[in-house]
Amino acid sequence: MRRGRKPKKRMSALRWNPVLEEWVITAPDRQTRPLQVSGASKKECLLCPHGFEVPTEYDICVFENRFPSLQRNPPPLTLKGDQFYKIKNGRGICEVVLYSPHHNRTLTTESENQIYKLINVWQDRYRELGSYNFIKYVFIFENKGEVIGVTLSHPHGQIYAFPYIPPIIKRELSSSRRHMARTGKCLFCEILQREIGEKKRIVWKGKHFAAFVPFYARWPYEVHIYSCRHRTSMLEFGETEKRDLARVLKKVLVKYDKLFGFSFPYMMVIHQAPTDGKEYSYYHFHIEFYPPYRSRDKIKFLGGCESGAGSFINDTSAEEKAAELRKSNM
């Protein structure tokens, strides 16, 4: 494909699953997206400065995904839905965030200062994308490693600006709203208090953020980072909080890489308040990491029980895994 050629758009749509009562995104265009992982050199990288996507030098760069799951201006639907099988335009925005101009780095090997700059960029994207009236939720995440299904090796993350609140966020909102109504306390503040009090699952504690393997971890090396102060989104962070978040992120990432001596794959997701204009004072900003490795040479796959019953089986103990991560990099 030549640079700048207008890609032919195919329909991105939302299909309603009446059984699970959730939307499924269908994006047939994504089947043709390029695959460029470990073998790709800096010279042929699509995301490096002066490469296919970015024509100049950059420090941190954001661009609209060429193969979006959700489209800013989707073409008209070609399939007609009804009250039972509902179908909607997949209207939303998908962005790619390039963490660094350096091809061979990862977020882990970036400086704390670069991570701090990235947090500022995340803040800006959350603010801007969340300001559109058709965007209800801004989801910032990173898939790292081929084993997770990453298609481009240059260090990058993604942002999906959804026209609805995704199911897991909905469940978290619902449980934290009920907890607030029942106890008058923030559910997440209470979890954090318990984790700090019990200490055994804490991985790293900064001044404003704490990282821990949650009591109810689903993945062996799952780590959550919570803001110590009650913050609903990153828009409420001050300078010292952003600096501290960069430090805690760096600590966790380095611990991951040192654990088995290789670049540790993970999914990193940021959960924060929806941007649909409603009140979410009971919700709490946090970051979750789901690494697929359960030991140096074994991967946890989502099997029948996880995928078909929605029930996770964790073969490890959160306390032991937190102790391993605490010791990692010492």
Binding site: K6, P55, E57, D59, C61, V62, N120, E239
Partner: protein
Amino acid sequence: MRKMKKLKVFKPDGRYLIYYYKIPPRARGAKREKAKKKDVCIEMESSS
């Protein structure tokens, strides 16, 4: 820390590209792109 800079440009296919922190030197290709679409340059709040 210097101020965070943000430069939004549009690609010929209509997708935007946003540079953060470092305003990139204008490349030959970028100049042509600029003529097609209006660029937006926004100075963000001080980050230190």
